[in-house]
């Protein structure tokens, strides 16, 4: 049975827009309203960030949103509680993204079981090593029908990309350039050699480009090299603006892909 993620990527659709936000930010109970508004605005995939006190791979924006979210009282049990009935309201693919330690403390199997019950589709845990995944967790992910999404970077050797591809079953997260999240320099989307190298490898899984995608230009450019792109920090900044949450979400998503998709 194809999962929501596999159905999304199976449609051969280009220019997929994935949006990341930190659960519990700006307010503790904003998680579900943000998800629903993102879906209404035409986003294709949502990554719900589980805040961690020491987010090593993140720049200042996601660090700060995580700090606020934790202070607001966001925890894994709280997030699961908020998402309990989410599948009664939306069928948009949902991926949880975070760091390994909070998941370990919750209990990996318990976490996978609960996520699967709720209707979560996949997980991104950047500090979960590929080798550990293959050795310890892959059968559990399969048992609970969850995809584990791996990152590759411009420095990842070809052989390792192939290995990652062989253990993936939804998409591969292509980190645009050597950087933490939230950098807005142009080096990210201009890494054409790397994108073409990966595109030319004939991988089983589609790639989506993330890190540093922050406006319509960078989004459009990234989409010429992969099936879609991920926006995180720029969206989180938009959430902090004056005005209603719904307006902020809608305005931001329109600024990315107005005219581009009906």
């Amino acid at each position: 049975m194809a999962t929501r993620l596999q159905r999304l990527f199976g449609q051969n659709q280009q220019g997929l827009l994935s949006v990341y936000f930190t659960a519990g930010y700006p307010k503790l109970d904003d998680t579900v309203p943000i998800i629903l508004e993102l879906e209404k605005s035409g986003v294709d995939l949502i990554e719900v960030g589980m805040p961690f006190s020491d987010p090593l791979a993140d720049g200042p924006t996601i660090q700060q949103s995580s700090e606020v979210a934790i202070r607001n009282g966001m925890t894994i049990p709280k997030l699961f509680e908020q998402l309990q009935d989410i599948r009664q309201h939306t069928q948009i693919p949902l991926v949880l993204m975070g760091y390994l330690n909070p998941v370990m403390q919750y209990g990996v199997e318990r976490f996978l079981q609960k996520a699967s019950e709720i209707g979560i589709d996949g997980l991104i845990l950047p500090d979960l090593p590929l080798a550990d995944y293959v050795r310890e967790y892959k059968p559990l992910f399969e048992q609970y029908g969850l995809s584990n999404v791996f990152l590759v970077t411009p420095q990842t050797p070809e052989q390792r990309i192939r290995e990652i591809d062989s253990h993936s079953n939804s998409f591969i997260y292509m980190v645009s350039s050597a950087s933490v999240t939230g950098s807005t320099g142009s080096k990210g989307v201009s890494n054409t050699d790397y994108f073409q190298r990966v595109a030319g490898m004939g991988l089983r899984n589609p790639g989506i480009i993330g890190f540093g995608i922050h406006d319509r230009d960078t989004f459009t450019q990234a989409c010429t090299h992969a099936r879609g792109a991920i926006i995180g920090s720029a969206f989180i900044k938009a959430l902090a603006k004056e005005g209603s949450l719904q307006d902020n979400v809608r305005t931001f998503i329109q600024s990315i892909r107005e005219n581009e998709k009906v």
């Binding site: 020491d54 090593l56 403390q105 050597a178 950087s179």
Partner: protein, 396 residues
């Protein structure tokens, strides 16, 4: 060798390399090369030469007569405070900078707590003509000002870490982020036996010169190369790892690891990881870690910037769990008393970190004939303002 790292980078269940993909190539490059480079004759020759002529090794093993009388046992001090730059940290930075050069890296980054590792890194970078950036928590920049000044003198850029508790943990986060942003030309000199494999093993090897010298010096002074006790403070655990290293598989030698209790282990203001920590992942390593039930890292506290860390190296987590080492925790107040005691009994002003080890002397139950080696990891110059404040010695 029950206590050395296994081929997957683990000490028992602790260790490993839990790093995001952005760091994988760098960590992997290091893993594949560190042992090869470290065992090459030209590397060893350069390292040994620098340790001897530049760092000033071997450091003395000093029989502390008046301290021994006070505690009614035989106390020896391993004088790491007499190293160039004033602490054991330089044993490691000399080694890693030579390694970085052999890997062709041109830009060096480091984190620092007390500033001793930052100074030791800035020093070897000056010596090798390499760019040096040191991340240091804002709180630590204030409480260890003399070391900030030294780093600047040496030409390093000191970047304040302004997130979280603004101490060592946060400086380490910033250094790791820098490494993610600069994967090609940059080498990260970690200052303790923490971080992803192979760092804990590599740093322990560079610090193992401490116990190697101890054995030869003890043999000469006591006729026995094994002491009854080795006592060392543990922040991340590098001076302790070096002091324990050659005794790890000699169970007759009792190992005592001393953590910072801060205001007391139950006060909520503490850095005693072995008491307060649970297994988790910090800075790329599976180890004991102070954290909430939800897996958020807790902000630690100690008067000593070098011990103010919510984790402990994976080797020490393993020594704790297996019972090979005994763990003690010492409060700010007890450490300060030990500073005054060593100063007035032996004429040596210790670093606040090292004072935690000294303060454990009254706890270990050593017999009069027992040989106890305390690793005096550093000198107290950097802590003088704190000492003058706490002992009311300003004025007059």
């Amino acid at each position: 060798m029950k206590y050395t790292v296994d081929e997957n980078g683990f000490y028992g269940r602790f260790g490993g390399a839990y790093v995001p993909e952005m760091l994988y190539p760098n960590v992997e490059e290091l893993r594949q090369n560190y042992l090869k480079i470290m065992s090459a004759p030209d590397f060893q020759e350069e390292l040994q030469g620098l340790l001897r002529d530049y760092v000033g090794r071997p450091t003395p093993l000093y029989f502390a007569k008046r301290l021994s009388e006070k505690y009614n046992t035989q106390v020896y001090l391993k004088r790491e405070d007499l190293n160039h730059t004033g602490a054991h940290k330089i044993n490691n930075t000399v080694g890693q900078v030579l390694l970085a050069k052999r890997l062709g890296k041109t830009r060096i980054i480091a984190e620092t707590g007390a500033g001793q590792h930052g100074v030791a890194t800035a020093t070897v970078c000056a010596l090798m003509n390499l760019e040096c950036i040191v991340y240091m928590g804002e709180v630590d920049i204030k409480r260890q000002a003399p070391n900030v000044a030294r780093m600047k003198m040496l030409g390093a850029t000191v970047v304040p870490a302004t997130s979280g508790s603004r101490t060592l943990k946060d400086a380490t986060n910033e250094a790791i982020r820098d490494w993610i942003n600069n994967p090609e030309d940059t080498y990260y000199i970690i200052g303790s036996v923490v971080g992803p494999h192979p760092y804990p093993d590599m740093v322990a090897r560079f610090q193992s010169v401490i116990s190697e010298e101890m054995k030869a010096q003890l043999l000469e002074k006591t006729g026995q190369e094994n002491p009854d006790y080795v006592v060392a403070c543990v922040g991340g655990g590098s001076n302790a790892a070096g002091a324990f290293y050659h005794f790890l598989d000699t169970p007759e030698v009792k190992l005592v690891a001393v953590e910072a209790a801060g205001l007391g282990v139950d006060s909520g203001e503490s850095a005693a990881t072995s008491v307060l920590g649970k297994e988790g992942i910090i800075h790329g390593s599976r180890t004991l870690l102070m954290q909430t039930d939800d897996g958020q890292v807790t902000e630690p506290y100690s008067i000593s910037a070098g011990l103010d860390y919510p984790g402990v190296g994976p080797l020490h987590a393993h020594l704790h769990q297996s019972g090979r080492a005994r763990f003690e925790s010492i409060t700010d107040e007890e450490a300060l008393q030990a500073v005054l005691e060593l100063t007035r009994l032996e004429g040596i002003i210790p670093a606040l970190e090292s004072a935690h080890a000294l303060a454990a002397l009254g706890r270990i139950g050593a017999k009069p004939e027992d040989v106890v080696v305390v690793n005096l990891s550093g000198r107290g110059d950097k802590d003088l303002t704190t000492y003058l404040d706490r002992f009311g010695l300003h004025g007059n």
